[in-house]
């Protein structure tokens, strides 16, 4: 019982998490993806060193080629090697997730914490602004931003980050409003602990869980959103190693020729499968986290 209580808490939480089958599935999936992402340069050596995300292609024929020896997952519209795309797409997926979520979470948590903790006029103003931001439809805003700043995945990521932070503000603020008036915070105040310390040491650690859950969920959904942008034609350019873009590229081959409608299954199933598994992984983890962290569901 000598160890730090928060540490014990963490251990206990992890313990709980890994009792949960869905979490195990989730984490193992994630682990695979991470491994692939890290080993990408060795699994699929890039052709253009100055930009490894360019998928290599032989010829220009739009008709996909079935899996064969030289490209084991076959080629998609434009003869891009699906295998290569899938491997490097993993990196892209993580990039999207981490960038968007990280950025959004940072802003959101900071704002939420401050306005929730200090309240008053500051809070009021921020909340009105939030009202406006919330009223904006995500995709519309994202599209507008992307169209304005030019196409491309980087723009999409920026656009999404510029929208998604509102979630974190909401979540964190709600948590902090409940925590703010609790005894341990009051105690700290009376003891004259500076505000930033109270926020960082006492409040955030207790308020962070919902944000974490949210983040893990978003890691996945952002990839889907990016895929949607590619579908509308605002995402990554054709030939860029990104699952969403590959799916969008292959969308005209979902329906094969009438005599053999599944002829081009690989163009859609492989990248699509990747997306699904990726999102699935994060969602499962998110669920597990929720079950583990949610103070009301604990200890049982």
């Amino acid at each position: 019982m000598s160890e730090h209580p928060r540490w014990r808490e963490l251990k206990f939480t992890l313990h709980r998490i890994f009792r949960n089958p869905s979490a195990i599935i989730g984490f193992s999936l994630l682990f695979i993806f991470v491994a692939v992402a890290l080993l990408a340069p060795w699994i699929a050596p890039p052709k253009y060193l100055h930009n490894p995300y360019l998928m290599p292609h032989k010829g220009f024929s739009p008709v996909p080629k079935a899996p064969s020896k030289e490209n084991i997952f076959g080629t998609t519209d434009g003869q891009y090697d699906i295998f290569y795309g899938v491997i490097w797409g993993t990196r892209t997926a993580f990039k999207i997730g981490f960038f968007v979520v990280g950025f959004a979470a940072l802003i959101g948590i900071a704002l939420g914490a401050i306005s929730g903790y200090y309240g008053g006029i500051l809070d009021e103003v921020l909340m009105r602004i939030m009202d406006i931001i919330w009223a904006l439809p995500t995709l519309v805003l994202a599209m507008a931003i992307v169209v304005a700043f030019g196409r491309g995945l980087d723009k999409v990521m920026i656009a999404l980050a510029m929208i998604e932070w509102r979630w974190y503000v909401r979540v964190i603020r709600a948590e902090i409003l409940t925590l703010r008036d609790q005894d341990f915070v009051q105690a700290a105040k009376i003891m004259g602990v500076p505000d930033y310390q109270i926020i960082l040491r006492h409040i955030l650690p207790n308020a962070i869980y919902p944000a974490l859950i949210l983040a893990s969920m978003e890691m996945g959904s952002m990839v889907i959103t990016a895929a949607f942008m590619s579908f509308v034609g605002l995402g990554a350019p054709p030939g860029f190693a990104d699952w969403g873009q590959m799916v969008a590229l292959a969308r005209n081959y979902i329906v094969g020729p009438p005599d053999n409608p599944l002829k081009f299954w690989f163009t859609i199933v492989i990248p699509g499968g990747c997306i699904i598994l990726f999102v699935l992984a994060w969602n499962l983890i998110g669920d597990a986290l929720r079950d583990a962290f949610d103070p009301r569901l604990r200890r049982r």
């Binding site: 406006i132 509308v232 990726f278």
Partner: protein, 343 residues
């Protein structure tokens, strides 16, 4: 209560202003040339871009253009939609019913089905029922909508030649157009109008065209609801009043459905609200794939072709919807949860 609503209406004004300025600002980042180019449809026409800029004063400073726009809107003129090639307001009222109709069918199914699933897996926490239904839901959730929609299209329309895309089959559409005297568009919703006019074949046909979109939408979105419901159920079932109820001699069913679920529903209402508020963009992919020319489709087109007036109009409308939904939600909340009082 009244004061509360009034305040909300004030808020609405603020929101609309903010939204319009924001979107306008974003769109203003384009060069005048670019915005003029939206009027161009063939290379030959590009020659006229400078004239177009002059004609619409696209090179004037932000605030002037903004206030011009506001003045126009105040006059009830939302501008001209190139995508729809007609006035925005008119176009909106033709497209809106389509989207509305779809969501009218989808939303209840999503919500009820989600609640049902959530309750089930909440009651049987950590059993195979729970796990399977959760995995199912999450898989649905992690499908890119457009992908799934296309697959559905392939399976049903491609293989079985069922549920053709579109809104209404040509025959009936022509019929409706030919004798406007016989078929009144009371609601603009084909299913409803069909019933009101006693033309059930039209209703049925409209339904047939709705099956795929609704199915796709439901399967993708249901997870959201289900999740919230589930954790709600689990939480409530762990509460003391549940034991009280048991101690009273209440049977499992009553405990679950009367006591726990009632409380677990509260958070779901919020989610349902979000769904409602987001339903329009939720239906973008579905409408594009199934060739239903509703607001979602219009939105996608306009966003890619930079049809500014349309973006403005839709954003404002969504802002309206958003505020309205929240208001109704709060009221609903206060109605369901006696602890909440609107002030």
């Amino acid at each position: 209560m009244l004061a509360y609503i009034l305040r909300r209406i004030l808020l609405l004004a603020l929101v609309l202003f903010g939204v319009s300025v924001l979107i306008f600002g974003i769109l203003m980042t384009f060069s005048p040339e670019r915005r003029a180019a939206t009027f161009v449809t063939s290379p030959q026409q590009v020659e006229d871009i400078p004239k177009i800029i002059k004609q619409f004063g696209l090179d004037e400073p932000f605030y002037i253009q903004y206030f011009r726009w506001v003045r126009e809107v105040a006059k009830g003129n939302m501008g001209w939609s190139l995508v729809a090639s007609r006035p925005v307001t008119e176009a909106f009222w033709t497209y809106f019913p389509i989207t509305l109709e779809m969501n009218l069918f989808a939303a209840p199914i999503v919500i009820l089905f989600g609640i049902w699933l959530g309750t089930i897996s909440g009651i049987h926490k950590d059993t195979w029922i729970d796990h399977s239904s959760r995995i199912m839901a999450i898989v649905g959730w992690s499908l890119p909508t457009f992908l799934f929609a296309l697959v559905m299209l392939m399976i049903f329309y491609g293989y079985f030649d069922l549920f053709s895309p579109g809104i209404l089959s040509d025959r009936l559409n022509m019929f409706i157009h030919d004798n406007p005297g016989k078929f009144y568009r009371y609601t603009k919703l084909y299913t409803m109008d069909g019933i009101l006019n006693g033309r059930f074949d039209i209703t049925l046909d409209a339904l047939a065209h709705l099956v795929l979109p609704v199915m796709t939408y439901v399967i993708v979105v249901v997870a959201l609801n289900m999740r919230v419901m589930r954790s709600g159920m689990i939480e409530e079932l762990s509460k003391d009043y549940v034991i009280t109820a048991r101690a009273k001699g209440a049977d499992k069913r009553t405990v679950n459905l009367k006591h726990a679920r009632r409380n677990a529903l509260l958070p779901v209402i919020t989610v349902a609200g979000q769904l409602l508020a987001l339903s329009m963009e939720g239906s973008i992919a579905v409408e594009v794939v199934f060739n239903r020319h509703g607001v979602g489709w219009w939105l996608a087109e306009s966003a890619t072709q930079l049809d500014m007036p349309v973006l403005m109009c839709i954003c404002l409308f969504m802002g309206l919807v958003f505020v309205a939904t929240n208001l109704t939600l709060d009221i609903l909340y206060a109605y369901i949860d006696p602890r909440i009082r609107l002030t």
